[in-house]
Structure formats: structure tokens, C-alpha cells
């Protein structure tokens, strides 16, 4: 026997180390191609996601001047945005928008999914009809709804039949955000509806049959079978909607540029205006970082819910 095996420890550890090394080598060989195939995705991920995110965080501490050079300003950008009264107004408007989308829009795809699932005929047609608005391009959507909301447009004509005065849906600050939510609900409920419909259709049919035999009506079936079965899905969609609506700015920008009188100035639009209209990229990125923190927390909640679901 060699000297090396005199110690009892050596007798045990030597082969173990060897085995671990072999295992690592074989594991590396086993997964090498997998990792190599991941490289392009990781590189793209770094360039287009992580670098901008981290760069944004770094920029939030700088006065950005892409031609003359950036200057470190510490927390000045954060102090500046916190001192801007429009920040709080935009937060308030965003929360209002989120609230309106929940009240006016969140239940619509659920109701549509349940209603369509109950259809005996034309279910396919109904699905397509409900989804169609989602494929309308933004430019067409804004033009169309601008006409719908026009003082002499169809909605006001309808109101006129009932003797009501025309309503300035767009220009009146009391209605502008509501009008945007209505328009967005019309356009977007179809895609959420398809997800809910898949959820409804995955509920075993024999549960409904058993309920029917027990004398349950439509409302009872929905209340005691459909909705409880979709609880996790609804929660997940709720979180996704909150994340999505908290970043809203497209419609507010295209239709009203944040007006009238800042009534539709959302947080994301305020960020865009700081960065691209006032060309204060430092303040813009600081606002983006704050939003990143909030959305990060919501994202973690969504991730946890997702894990519970699957």
C-alpha cells in the first residue's frame, strides 16, 4: 500500500473527491450544449434588458448630457422629482386610472368568458367577435374613438335621442379618464377573455352536470363552480392588470397629451415628458427607477401567485 492511504481520513476522502470531480465533469459534459445554446439568449438578455436597467439606475444619479458629457449629481434628480407637484398628481391619476380599469374593465372579460362558454351555438363566432377589437391598430383606435366621443358623434347622438345635452367626453376633465378606460376596455377585453375562457373550459364538465342534476341554475353554477375554480387565475390576471395599468400612458398621450388640465397625466406619461419633452433624462430615469421598485414588488407577488397556481 502507498503512504497516502495510511490516514483513515485519506482512505475515505480521496475516492470521494475523485467521484465528485468525475461527477462534475460528467455533469458539465451533460449540460454543456444546453448552456452553450443559452448563450445567445443570455447575451441578448444582458444587452437589451440588464444593461438598460442598470444603466437607468446609474443615470438616475447623473445630469445627462449625451453630447457634452454626464455629471454626477447624487440624489438631486430624486429631490427634484419629489419636489415637483406633478409627481403626486400623476401618482393620483395613475391610481385613479387603475381603480377605473378594475371597476369598469376587470369584470368584463370574466363575464364575457362565462357567457360565451354557456353558448350552445356560435361560440366560435362570439370568440372571434370579442377578440377582433384587440387587433385594431392604435392609430385607428384613437381616430375611431375620437369620432365616437365627438360632440356630434354616435354616442352623443344616442344621448341626444334621450334629450340629453352633448357631453365633452374628451375635453371635460371629469370624463376624460373614464372615456379612456372605456375605450381601452373595449379594445383589450378580448385577449383577457380568451385566457379566462380557457380556464372556464378546463373545469370538468361532470361537475356542472352533477350540479344540474342537483337542481343548480346558471347563477348557482357560476357562483359555486366556475368562479371558485377560476380564483387563482383571476388573482393572477388581477396582478397582471395592476402591473399593466400602472404603466399606462399611450392613450393618455395620443388622445389628450396628459390634458385637459393634467387630468390624464399618468406616472408613466410624466416620466416620458420629463425625459423626452423636457429632455431631463436624469429625472426621467429617476422616475423610472422608482417605478421599477414598485413594479418589482408587484412582480414578486405575481411570481409567488404563479408558483402557487402551478
Amino acid at each position: 500500500m502507498e503512504q497516502s492511504v495510511i490516514s483513515p481520513g485519506n482512505r475515505v476522502k480521496g475516492p470521494e473527491k475523485e467521484t465528485q470531480k468525475l461527477k462534475r465533469t460528467s455533469n458539465w459534459k451533460k449540460y454543456m450544449w444546453g448552456y452553450l445554446f443559452l448563450v445567445p439568449a443570455i447575451v441578448i438578455f444582458i444587452i437589451f434588458l440588464w444593461v438598460p436597467i442598470i444603466k437607468g439606475m446609474v443615470y438616475s444619479f447623473y445630469n445627462i448630457d449625451f453630447v457634452k458629457g454626464n455629471t454626477f449629481v447624487g440624489f438631486d434628480n430624486y429631490v427634484k422629482i419629489f419636489n415637483n407637484p406633478d409627481l403626486w398628481l400623476s401618482v393620483k391619476n395613475t391610481l385613479y386610472f387603475m381603480f377605473l380599469t378594475l371597476v369598469m374593465g376587470f369584470w368584463v372579460p370574466i363575464a364575457a368568458a362565462i357567457a360565451i362558454s354557456e353558448l350552445k351555438f356560435f361560440q366560435g363566432f362570439a370568440r372571434i367577435a370579442a377578440y377582433l377589437p384587440f387587433v385594431v391598430p392604435g392609430v385607428v383606435l384613437y381616430g375611431m374613438w375620437r369620432w365616437m366621443y365627438d360632440p356630434v358623434g354616435p354616442i352623443n347622438a344616442l344621448l341626444g335621442w334621450f334629450g340629453a345635452d352633448p357631453v365633452s367626453f374628451i375635453s371635460d376633465g371629469r370624463f376624460s379618464m373614464i372615456s379612456i378606460v372605456f375605450m381601452e376596455t373595449w379594445q383589450q377585453f378580448g385577449s383577457a377573455m380568451l385566457i379566462y375562457l380557457a380556464g372556464v373550459l378546463s373545469i370538468p364538465r361532470d361537475w356542472y352536470e352533477a350540479a344540474e342534476i342537483d337542481g343548480a341554475g346558471v347563477w348557482s353554477r357560476i357562483k359555486y363552480i366556475t368562479l371558485p375554480s377560476m380564483r387563482s387565475l383571476i388573482m393572477l390576471m388581477l396582478i397582471l392588470q395592476i402591473i399593466g395599468t400602472s404603466q399606462a400612458y399611450q392613450s393618455q398621450l395620443a388622445l389628450l397629451d396628459g390634458g385637459p388640465n393634467k387630468a390624464t397625466l399618468t406616472y408613466a406619461l410624466f416620466t416620458v415628458k420629463n425625459a423626452f419633452t423636457q429632455l431631463d433624462y436624469g429625472a426621467g430615469t429617476a422616475l423610472g427607477v422608482l417605478m421599477f421598485v414598485v413594479l418589482g414588488i408587484l412582480g414578486i407577488i405575481q411570481f409567488k401567485l404563479n408558483r402557487e397556481e402551478y
Partner: protein
């Protein structure tokens, strides 16, 4: 494997952090260039520089690539005109390679374009932007090139002065306008309204707006812009007419003064149009495009903008006849007052990141057709092309050359030959009083005033003085106090 994945993830994040921090210095090369006056050579120009060869003694013998400002795809006539110019330019300068870029200047995009070094060698911009672009270092100082140009003394000084800052030249004028009111004569006739004289006043405008408005049919008497910075821009015309100003500059201290009595008078006039005459659109949140579109659709009797754009849209897109469209100066506040309108215009400016050769060639390209017979032919070709399409040619009210120059006479003789050239009332030009925009923080002022205009249109009975005081304080603290004026 979990450890390996964690390690990989850490490496990724660390790499991202390094990459993110490493790029902070961005354009340090360009910093030194712009500090040297902006005309110094550089090694980067959005991909152009790599193709530019080492200098020889004569610039025409050196390979230079120009990324030029090119018309949009739907502007087929202008594109054909530009292609013709490119061919003639390359015949004279065979070593120049032309790359077409149809990016159009946008306040929201210029920062990104400069940051990414993607801006063309020269690009279009407007009179409002001079101070911003110079302050940011986004335009080259072309004083030296300008001083060496043979036609520099023949250029329209009123327009050119907009892009001369502190004695340095930063842009070349193309054309310009004095903000005007364009009237749909047909709508006035439909309501049996008397067509006012060109030398009109606010009262005349009020009466026309009130008389022409038909809210039940969705027709407004006047469509002052109510969305975006253009809302503030439209209102500023009335501020000027009332004798007011946006700001003063005393020993480098810029002070907001638009909350003056004149400002109150101008804002009160807006409120009269809205609440007393009910003459503005019910849906008044109209941007520049919306307002002009409203005019071309016959949904408003009057609109305030550069006359060229409105007439172009009304005749060539809205199908209106020249006799139905009247271009007015902005109304005077009172009889005998000045018809002040904001002086605006289109300019071409050169990218400071371009090399010295590229800058010089860009200057030669921009001025290539100025005061030449080729340009006259090009104008005539365009008029003929428009005629063949059944469209009108709308001359810009102010050109890069002086009105009384020999070149202006030549152009006019071409216009006179064709019946599809829109003709402004000759009396109009005697009444137009162009007033240059504020030198500092113009867009910030417009944005703030836009909110004031919106508040005035949406809330009845607001106190104009109070509104303007709040706006002036906001503009002063947030923008003007930060300006280092000279």
C-alpha cells in the same frame, strides 16, 4: 448545477453592471469638439465617418459621405425634387456619397438621436429650437462656412437672424412664416356673415367666430389649439397683439413677464370665445394636426397657424377651392394696433458630431440650389407635377431670399404663369408683423401655458390674473432661474 447557475447569473449581472457603468462617459470625444466651437473634426458620425477617407488638399477630391435630410415617403414630388438635386450635386462632387434619411426633427426624438449618434449630417428644425439646440450642443457652429458663402448678404435677414446666437451662425433658413389666421369663406357665407377686412381686430374675430359657430352641427367659429405645446403657442400670438411679452432678459437674468395686463387681456379674450360666444369646438383638446384637420373638413371657420400648412391641407387634402380660403394676419387687439404673429420658420442645421469635411460638404449641399436657375427650374417642375395631379402649389409666405430681390422677381414670374399656384392677397404682406419667439425656455413656457389654456377652457369663471401669476411663478422657478443667459 444550482451553484453553477447562480455563479453564471452573478457573472451576468456583474457584466451588465460593468457595461452599464462603463458607457457613462458616452461622447467624451464630442465634448471636446463642441467646446472647440463645434466645427472640429471627429471620428464618429453615426456610421458615416468610417467611410470618410483621410484628407487630401482639396475637399472635392476627398471621399465624404453625407447622411442627408430627405422628404417622407408620401411626399413624392418633394422626393423627386430632392433626387434631382442629389444627382446634380453628385455630378459636381463625384466623391460624395449620399445616404438618404427621412427622419424629421422632433423635440421628443432629437435627444435620443444625438445620444445614439444617429442624427443625419444635417437635419431640419424650426425657429423655436435655436436656443435649445445651441445650449445642448446639438448643432454645429457654421460661422466660418457662412462667412465664406457668396450669397450670405442676399439671404432674408429676418429669418436668418433666428439662428444667429451670440453672433454665431448655427443654421440656414429655408423659408418662414408669420403666424396667421386662415378663414373658411364658405362657412361665413353660409351664415350670411360679412367678410371682415384684412386689417381686422379682436372684435371682428369674435363676431365672425360667434356668427359662424353652429355647435349642433359640430361646427366651431374658431379652433384655437388646446392640446400640447401648440396650445401655448397659439395663445402667445394674442399676448403679443395685446402688447405683452413672454420674458425679459436684464443682465443675464431672465424674468417671466407674461402675467402682465396684456396677458390677462389675451386670456380673457380666449375665455370670451369659449364661454360667451361658445365659438370654439366642444371637444377643444385639439393639437396642431387636429385643428388643421378640423379646418380642412369644414368643421371650423378659422384656425391659427402658419398659412402655408393650413392652405396646403385645405386645398390639396380637403378639396377646398382657393377662393374659399382667405389668409388673414392675426387680428390687432384694437383698431390701429399691430397684427403681431409669431415669426416661425424652417431651418437646416448641421450635426456637430460630423467631421469638418462632412460639415463643409453638408453646407455646400444645403446651399447648392440657393439663388440658382436650377432651383427655379425645380420649382417650375414641381408646379407642373402638382398641376398634373390636380393639386395646388402653395408658396411659403416668406422665402430665404428677400422679397424685393431679383431672385424673388424671377420666382414670382414663374408663379404668375400657372393657375394652380395659390395667391396670397398682396395686401396681406403689408400687415403681417412677425415677432420672434422668446429666446429662452420657449417650449417650457408653451407647455405651462397649455395647462392654463386648458384650465380656462374647462372651468368657467377662473381668475386670469391668478392663473397667469401661478404659471409665471412655475416657469420662473423651474426653468428661467436655471438659465445662464448672456
Amino acid at each position: 448545477m444550482r451553484k453553477f447557475s447562480a455563479l453564471l447569473m452573478c457573472l451576468m449581472l456583474f457584466g451588465s453592471l460593468l457595461a452599464a457603468c462603463g458607457g457613462g462617459g458616452g461622447n467624451k470625444n464630442t465634448e471636446s469638439q463642441t467646446n472647440n466651437g463645434g466645427a472640429a473634426p471627429s471620428n464618429s458620425n453615426g456610421g458615416n465617418a468610417a467611410q470618410t477617407e483621410e484628407p487630401a488638399d482639396d475637399i472635392t477630391q476627398r471621399k465624404v459621405t453625407l447622411k442627408i435630410h430627405y422628404p417622407l415617403p408620401d411626399e413624392t414630388t418633394l422626393r423627386a425634387q430632392e433626387d434631382d438635386k442629389i444627382a446634380r450635386f453628385q455630378a459636381k462632387y463625384p466623391n460624395v456619397t449620399i445616404v438618404k434619411d427621412d427622419w424629421q426633427y422632433s423635440v421628443n426624438e432629437i435627444g435620443v438621436k444625438m445620444a445614439s449618434n444617429e442624427a443625419p449630417t444635417f437635419y431640419n428644425t424650426w425657429a423655436t429650437e435655436a436656443q435649445l439646440l445651441v445650449e445642448r450642443g446639438w448643432v454645429a457652429d457654421i460661422t466660418e462656412l457662412w462667412n465664406g458663402w457668396e450669397y450670405k448678404d442676399d439671404i432674408n435677414p429676418v429669418l436668418q437672424n433666428q439662428f444667429i446666437v451670440d453672433g454665431k451662425v448655427y443654421g440656414i433658413t429655408q423659408n418662414g412664416y408669420v403666424t396667421s389666421t386662415v378663414v373658411n369663406k364658405k362657412l361665413l357665407e353660409a351664415k350670411n356673415l360679412e367678410i371682415p377686412a384684412l386689417d381686422w381686430t379682436w372684435d371682428d374675430m369674435y363676431n365672425v367666430a360667434k356668427g359662424a359657430a353652429d355647435p349642433k352641427k359640430g361646427i366651431s367659429g374658431i379652433a384655437p389649439m388646446g392640446k400640447g405645446n401648440e396650445a401655448g403657442w397659439n395663445w402667445t400670438n394674442f399676448l403679443f397683439e395685446a402688447g405683452g411679452d413672454i420674458e425679459t432678459n436684464t443682465d443675464g437674468k431672465v424674468t417671466a413677464v407674461f402675467n402682465s395686463e396684456a396677458g390677462v387681456k389675451a386670456l380673457d379674450f380666449y375665455k370670451k370665445l369659449r364661454w360667451e360666444a361658445n365659438a370654439i369646438p366642444q371637444d377643444w383638446a385639439l393639437g396642431w394636426g387636429d385643428a388643421i384637420s378640423s379646418f380642412q373638413q369644414g368643421r371650423t371657420a378659422m384656425v391659427i397657424a402658419g398659412a402655408f400648412d393650413v392652405v396646403q391641407a385645405a386645398l390639396n387634402e380637403g378639396g377646398m377651392k382657393p377662393e374659399d380660403v382667405i389668409v388673414y394676419p392675426m387680428p390687432a387687439a384694437e383698431k390701429g394696433g399691430k397684427h403681431y404673429g409669431i415669426l416661425g420658420g424652417n431651418y437646416l442645421v448641421i450635426n456637430p458630431n460630423a467631421t469638418k469635411d462632412e460639415q463643409e460638404m453638408a453646407f455646400r449641399y444645403i446651399t447648392f440650389d440657393y439663388f440658382t436657375d436650377d432651383a427655379l427650374k425645380s420649382v417650375e417642375d414641381t408646379i407642373q407635377a402638382r398641376k398634373a395631379e390636380g393639386k395646388y402649389y402653395i408658396p411659403t409666405p416668406l422665402e430665404y431670399f428677400s422679397e424685393d430681390s431679383e431672385y424673388a422677381t424671377k420666382i414670382q414670374s414663374i408663379y404668375d404663369k400657372y393657375d394652380n399656384v395659390f395667391k396670397y392677397d398682396p395686401n396681406l404682406f403689408g400687415l403681417l408683423e412677425g415677432k420672434p419667439e422668446a429666446q429662452f425656455g420657449t417650449q417650457d413656457f408653451y407647455a405651462t401655458m397649455s395647462n392654463v389654456v386648458q384650465e380656462s377652457f374647462s372651468k368657467k369663471g377662473t381668475d386670469s390674473k391668478k392663473q397667469l401669476d401661478v404659471a409665471a411663478q412655475y416657469v420662473q422657478e423651474n426653468f428661467f432661474d436655471k438659465i445662464q443667459a448672456q
